[in-house]
């Protein structure tokens, strides 16, 4: 579904990605892990058309995404849950969700939109309770659910998530990751960027490890979980124990 070959990204003179390749097949849940500043967000922004200058190749459904603006990429079925959620605090929860379906309203797909809205409110019942409330008044976990819900409102084929676990308690992380597994079962393809390597690799089929703009490891999620390097760098013994206790 997604093929990235030899992707290079620049911020002025700084090179944030130096020749990254990655692929995601239809129906897969792939995790991309890496430390701060590795270039994970840069990679996702390049896919979504939010980054102005990149070289290399990004193919989605066999077609290049080069030169496309974000709305055109959303229209192709790619939807992102951005880092830090980026919900619209002054707007109501409902309006935030509806904004996710902006392009579909334009295509007059009102029936499809309201069906999806119901589905998403069922998926996250707390959003239904708070639907009239300003999004800024939600808790961090609720905001993350809203961000996921908003992305789903675009009815994507391919969902990208940038550190959805950031700043959330393990229980909430669990809830969101369970939802992702549920979504994958409905046929959605997912690429998740995480620093919480344990949680991400546990639900993923495959994983990639990004380090300072280079892909250093790739493989089955279970292999990566067992990998010594990954364990040393991203899991840490205490960390993995912590999660085992709760799994």
């Amino acid at each position: 579904m997604l093929q990235i070959r030899n992707l290079k990204c620049y911020y002025g003179g700084i090179r944030a990605l130096s020749g990254v390749s990655l692929s995601v097949s239809r129906g897969e849940l792939v995790a991309l892990i890496g430390a701060n500043g590795a270039g994970k967000s840069t990679l996702l922004q390049a896919i979504c058309g939010l980054s102005s200058s990149w070289e290399g190749e990004i193919l989605f459904d066999g077609k290049s995404l080069a030169g496309l603006k974000p709305p055109a990429i959303v229209a192709r079925g790619v939807s992102m849950v951005p880092e830090g959620r980026l919900i619209f605090p002054p707007l109501s929860v409902l309006d935030n969700l509806k904004l996710g379906a902006y392009l579909r309203y334009r295509q007059r797909d009102h029936v499809g939109v309201s069906q999806d809205l119901e589905k998403i409110l069922d998926l996250f019942p707390v959003l239904r309770e708070r639907s009239k409330q300003n999004a800024g008044t939600l808790s961090g976990g609720e905001q993350q659910m809203l961000a996921v819900g908003r992305s789903l409102m675009a009815n994507p084929k391919f969902l990208l998530l940038d550190e959805p676990s950031m700043g959330l308690a393990p229980l909430v992380v669990r809830k969101i990751f369970d939802t992702l597994v549920q979504l994958r079962e409905t046929g959605l393809t997912i690429l998740i960027v995480e620093q919480n390597a344990q949680a991400a690799l546990e639900i993923a089929d495959r994983g990639y490890v990004l380090e300072t703009g280079r892909m250093v490891l790739a493989g089955e999620a279970s292999q990566l979980l067992a990998d010594k390097e990954v364990k040393r760098a991203y899991l840490g013994k205490d960390y993995s124990k912590f999660y085992e206790g709760r799994g």
Binding site: C48, P71, M80, L86, F88, D95, R150
Partner: protein, 315 residues
């Protein structure tokens, strides 16, 4: 529902004022300024953009219909669409390059544009009548009904206000309104969910210009004489002040602001002397609390903070 009530209030007020020429005319002026303010409010309050040359679009509406009806003897009803289209096209040309960027660019662009238009109104004597103004603009009539009498014209103007309110209300609560409010908060986030931010901003700017041109049309056929002095920078500032006083991002607020700033000079004669200072003071407040000014400032702090955080984590 609210609109029916509003319409009823207008009709009753009109009936009550029968024969009171002064108040009929005052109320008609309030209607014209409300139109201007509500259009500008869509741009400022919802999309977070500012136009400092809105009087120019008001003038384009007035002068287009004035020139066509006086020089070419067109019927006002034929010149109306021309006036609206003219303002829309010019707004498109002014807005296209400036709205691609985020920030104050539209404000600066329209500031310059407003001044150029004012010079044009004053100097292009063959068309506009120059500093002496354009005389002999016909009044409106429809199917033999004279619309120029005090009460009829009041109904015409407030009918237009009601229609514009209705359109704005629909717009605000639709996909477009949500997108504008999203842009107001963060262009980047809005674009990430698929909003074409440049296009949405341009659309609302063109809309506000067309509404201003409608106000200009109504003004020209009401007073039947127009001169450049009506469409100055000060007039633009006054419109911005109306929106700010009424409260941004509120359709009914525009009505309030327009009413207040139209009545104030009527009842407070000293006001005329300090007009510029008062509008200047209000505008200063806008500049300080201007949405994108604030957003920009907060973004800068956020970026600095982010850079610092990254730096310390990587150390």
């Amino acid at each position: 529902m609210v609109f029916t009530l509003f319409a009823a209030v207008i009709i009753c007020t009109g009936a009550a004022l029968e024969g009171d020429y002064y108040h009929e005319q005052l109320l008609t002026f309030i209607g014209i300024f409300t139109l201007l303010a509500v259009g500008l409010n869509m741009l400022m309050g919802y999309a977070g953009q500012i136009s400092l040359g809105h009087a120019a679009f008001y003038g384009i509406g007035a002068y287009t219909t004035g020139a066509l009806t006086v020089h070419l003897q067109w019927s006002p009803w034929a010149s109306l669409p021309c006036a609206l289209i003219m303002a829309g096209v010019i707004a498109y040309i002014v807005g296209k390059p400036t709205l691609k960027l985020s920030g104050y660019y539209l404000g600066m662009g329209t500031l310059g544009f407003g001044m150029i238009m004012h010079v044009l109104f004053r100097e292009w004597t063959t068309i506009t009548g120059g500093p002496n103004g354009l005389v002999g603009i016909p009044s409106l009539s429809l199917w033999g009904l004279d619309l120029s009498t005090g009460r009829n014209y009041l109904y015409v103007v407030w009918g237009c206000v009601l229609l514009t309110f209705f359109i704005c209300d629909r717009l605000v609560n639709s996909r477009v309104g949500r997108a504008l409010r999203a842009i107001h908060y963060s262009e980047q986030a809005a674009s990430a969910v698929g909003v074409d931010t440049a296009k949405a901003k341009l659309q609302v700017f063109v809309f506000s210009a067309v509404v201003a041109a409608l106000a200009g049309f109504l003004y020209a056929h009401m007073v039947m004489f127009i001169s450049p002095g009506t469409f100055t920078f000060l007039a633009s500032v006054k419109l911005v002040a109306m929106v700010v006083i009424g409260g941004m991002a509120s359709i009914w607020g525009a009505l309030l602001g327009a009413t207040f700033l139209t009545l104030l000079p009527e009842h407070l004669s000293v006001f005329a002397d300090y007009e510029m200072i008062i509008y200047g003071g209000i505008l200063m407040g806008v500049m300080i609390f201007l949405p994108q000014g604030l957003t920009r400032g907060v973004l800068d702090i956020y970026e600095k903070f982010r850079a610092k955080r990254k730096g310390t984590v990587e150390d």
